[in-house]
Amino acid sequence: MDIFTTFDIAASGLNAQRTRLNTISANLANAETTSTPEGGPYKKKSVVFQTEALPFKQHLQASLGNQGQTQGVKVARIVEDTSAPQRIYDPAHPDAKEDGYVEMPNISVFKEMVDMMSATRSYEANTTTIKSAKRMAMKALDIGR
């Protein structure tokens, strides 16, 4: 049924924002991680969004012209920050280099908090879309009453 297309698109948005929140929580948890299995400090991760490829059925319908190009979103990949780590002077730290500097991850907690708010708001927007679609469907069903 076509009324459920809105649901599917919004669900893809919810999924994407969930993944984004996961990376943000990883960034916050590792904001002061100085050592990783790969060596060096933790690297900030961020998500890259991409429009979701349409399934064949929807492609066909779109090309037949009875439906616009409605597309969901997906997380294309999770990229690591490549900028140089922060250097903080702390000779007593176990991970300190010979010169007394410790390499800390390049993560701003405030930035991450703002990103988190943005992800939460986007999630809310997508749930509101679903609620809206449901309200419309219910109104359509009310016609018969």
């Binding site: 049924m1 459920f4 649901f7 919810l14 999924n15 449901k134 069903l141 009453r145």
Partner: protein, 97 residues
């Protein structure tokens, strides 16, 4: 389209003799059965999603909620169609002959 075909069936001309035969292939009952089947499929999908959330699989919470909403809307729609069909049936039964 079906409504128009139904009207032509009432016409006294003999031209519409072929259309009732063709319509008999997809009766109202068939449509209703297909709809009940579709509703049932969505209900089962919702059940499955809930089970997966309970079992702690990778499914997200919102996936289950959306599956439930879909099942809810399709069930309400089915009930509405059923109400309409019963109304029409009762209206005909009340008809004075």
């Amino acid at each position: 389209m079906d409504a128009i075909n139904g009207v032509t069936g009432l016409l006294p001309t003999g031209q519409a003799a072929t259309t009732p035969l063709r319509q008999a292939e997809t009766s109202f009952g068939d449509i209703l059965t297909a709809m009940v089947g579709q509703t049932n499929t969505l209900q089962q999908a919702a059940d499955q999603a809930i089970q997966q959330v309970h079992a702690g699989d990778e499914k997200n919470l919102h996936t289950a909620m959306i599956a439930m909403e879909k099942a809810d809307i399709s069930l309400r729609y089915m009930v509405q169609v059923r109400n309409k069909a019963i109304d029409a049936y009762q209206e005909i039964m009340r008809m004075q002959v």
